[in-house]
């Protein structure tokens, strides 16, 4: 199979890259392992703001719908329930539909593989009833299944605060938020105070010491600075932060740098979102963990750069559009993330990991 642009990942970044490329007449293929496009947006019921100026604030699943609407009628072929298994010497991607593997040769590849959640290890954290916040969100919002009746949340990022509120909205009692640091890691203080107003205790400098239960979590001991308390719960949601998914970039031979503000190891890329492999571009959380507005912008920039490379848009026009989008990125993105991104770009020519042996 041949295509102009192969986009790996059909979440917000992959879809916005698809809109930018396909709307300029390019032939686009999107691979996604899920059965529908939209990625994590499908289980995000919270209102997303700020979004790029072309979108008004809306809920995650509404944004997924809006993005999918825009590729209708364009030359975009979604390969759903498909996975990339690796790359071959001629540059083609090995893609499987679980029955066969077939090669796809693309002129340009945009990798929008997204982020993976990190777990938090404590004794017996592998027991049923203990899951990441993303897993709990998927259960309640996508599968319409109660994740548990009585819950605690370990960690206090913005994502954890949103999930706590969504759990409460479906009738789960959130008994505590446990944070090992001395303050919340969430940047949006509004959600934190809303949870406090609802009487949810925040335990700082604290962690789970022990989990008990017969076949599933029933009780936990929390080590507070000066005492140990016991809570009966059937759900523990872990928020260990998120990191970019890198396996595709590794297989493609891209180089990596380390940028804590972006989630740790991140492929190196320039301000056009081109990696050090000239046919490979990057977008979304893979290029640094961020919020939905900035993720859309990175997809748009990558899409415009690919359109320019394939001569679907003039360079002067592409430069102008990129400049506007970068300005908007600086406005929408959390300051520490944006400055991490700018620092990361500066290291483009001096990556920490490069020329790795691939097999």
């Amino acid at each position: 199979m041949k295509t102009d642009v192969l986009i790996i990942g059909g979440g917000p970044a992959g879809l916005s890259a698809a809109i930018e490329t396909a709307s300029r007449g390019l032939d686009v293929t999107i691979v996604d392992e899920a059965s529908q496009l939209g990625g994590q947006l499908n289980q995000q019921t919270q209102t997303l703001r700020p979004l790029p100026s072309v979108y008004e604030p809306m809920r995650g699943f509404e944004l997924a719908y809006k993005l999918i609407e825009q590729i209708k009628g364009l030359s975009v072929k979604p390969l759903l329930n498909h996975r990339v298994v690796g790359f071959y010497a001629d540059g083609s991607a090995g893609i499987t539909d679980e029955e066969n593997v077939f090669p796809v040769k693309a002129k340009k590849i945009i990798v929008a593989s997204g982020a993976a959640e990190k777990a938090v290890a404590f004794p017996k954290w592998t027991m049923p009833g203990i899951m990441t916040i993303g897993a709990a969100q998927t259960l309640i919002n996508r599968d319409f299944v109660m994740a548990g009746r009585e819950a605690v949340i370990v960690g206090s990022s913005d994502f954890a605060m949103e999930t706590a509120m969504q759990l409460m909205a479906v009738g789960t009692r959130v008994k505590a938020i446990i944070e090992k640091q001395s303050e919340v890691s969430a940047i949006d203080q509004e959600k934190v105070s809303e949870l406090s107003r609802n009487g949810i205790p925040f335990y700082f400098n604290s962690f789970i010491k022990e989990v008990r239960g017969n076949g599933q979590v029933e009780q936990i001991d929390i080590e507070l600075p000066d005492e140990v308390i016991t809570l009966n719960v059937d759900l523990v949601c872990m928020d260990g932060g998120r990191m970019p998914i890198l396996d595709v970039f590794y297989q493609l031979g891209c180089s990596f740098g380390f940028q804590e503000e972006l989630g740790g190891w991140v492929p190196q890329y320039s301000n056009t979102f081109q990696t050090d492999r000239e046919d490979v571009f990057i977008a979304g959380n893979a290029a640094g963990i961020s919020t939905q507005g900035p993720l859309l912008l990175t997809g748009m920039i990558a899409g415009i750069s690919v359109s320019e490379e394939l001569q679907a848009i003039r360079s002067a026009e592409a430069n102008e559009m990129r400049e506007t989008l970068w300005k908007e990125l600086g406005l929408l993105e959390y300051k520490e993330v944006y400055s991490g991104r700018v620092k990361h770009l500066e290291n483009f020519t001096s990556p920490i990991l490069k020329d790795q042996f691939i097999s």
Partner: protein, 109 residues
């Protein structure tokens, strides 16, 4: 961290086993993997990579940027051999490590 805490849930490798490799000089995820099978189960190190890096960081004081990524091989996620074999006569989905090695006068270039 409690010594008995599981780090790799697929292969049931504990924190203690990871620490033992580090005390014997292990400094990368792949060092730990080769000695304990950590990361070699169904999830293919997708969950334990960052936890092992964190333990190496805590035990040795190496910064996380000094602990390299594990090698991410093909196939990127588990796949049935039947699927990998394909029904195609013109295309082989199976890649050999030798595909990436260039030989010159009998030696690896």
């Amino acid at each position: 961290m409690d010594k008995t805490t599981i780090i790799c849930r697929c292969e049931e490798i504990s924190c203690e086993e990871v620490e033992e490799v580090i005390s014997n000089g292990g400094r990368t995820f792949d060092d730990v993997k080769r000695i304990t099978r950590c990361g070699m189960g169904p999830c293919q190190a997708k969950i334990c990579t960052s936890m092992v890096a964190e333990i190496i960081h805590q035990q040795t004081g190496l910064s996380l940027s000094e602990i390299p990524l594990p090698r991410m091989r093909m196939p990127l996620s588990p796949i049935k051999l039947e699927t990998l074999a394909t029904n195609s006569t013109s295309f082989s989905a199976v890649k050999s490590v030798l595909d990436d090695v260039e030989i010159e006068e009998g030696k690896v270039r």
